[in-house]
Subunit: 173 residues, 2 copies
Amino acid sequence: MTQGLLMVNTGNGKGKTTAALGMAMRAAGHGLRVCIIQFIKGSWHYGELDGIQAFNGLIDIHVMGKGFTWKSEDLTEDTRLAQEAWKFAAKTIDSGNYHTVILDEFTYLFHYNMLNMDDCLDRLKKRPPEQHVVITGRYAPQELIDSADLVTEMREIKHPLKTGIKAQKGIEF
Amino acid sequence: MTQGLLMVNTGNGKGKTTAALGMAMRAAGHGLRVCIIQFIKGSWHYGELDGIQAFNGLIDIHVMGKGFTWKSEDLTEDTRLAQEAWKFAAKTIDSGNYHTVILDEFTYLFHYNMLNMDDCLDRLKKRPPEQHVVITGRYAPQELIDSADLVTEMREIKHPLKTGIKAQKGIEF
């Protein structure tokens, strides 16, 4: 009997999304289906997307909200797009079509108060009992951590961009 | 101009190896070659290995030391195997044949004093200047952190095994 886990990768360090990607690869390697829902445009790049193609349709990816970057001046429109994106995500989760659903950079929707957290956590609690969900992003709120089964903080100890080395293909993107 | 980075994923949390795997996938997605050298048997499982097959030879993987698990009673033999494994890794790094070389669970060789750290860090410093190296494992020693360009600590905040949920296919392995 499997039990669906709610997993959170948070913190200011690298590896939150990358570890989720590794999990997608691991599940797909088992022949299991994965859906990645990307809430912020640009956090995943061509390298990853090409990588995903290698799995012959086991990994689906969706970029939500027209790839809104939270830099818009129009908060009302951003909030509407965020809620629409969450609706799509919740439907995907409830479909039970995937072994794992990854909500990439999802925490920002809470951080910017674009979603009602209680409603959202309640909906996640009522998902199909075998459904694994992975949420990534900085600033995971305490209520989400309390609801989750597994929480990892990626903590930055040292970062090369701070020592003047530029972002590089295959590493940063 | 690219500059080879020495990257370390350490800490007691999940995601150290999985993030390295995501990086391998990202690089291979760019058509770049990656070599994964696994220093401890069992930290990578069938899911990942099947996943790697999807990249048509861009990702090589080697299990070193006959997959020694550090549980041997024979420390002399373990140390010999560890040093042999490091020699192979150093040769692979110096070959310049790969965009990224991942030394998975490598920190344990320092933790168990199986390698001379100064010699090892010195050899890493003298590697081809464009060669990226990723080292994973708990207990990264301070000298390694000092030598590295990018260090991330995966810190466990909450883990389901502690709340009595068993390891599951596609998640833990």
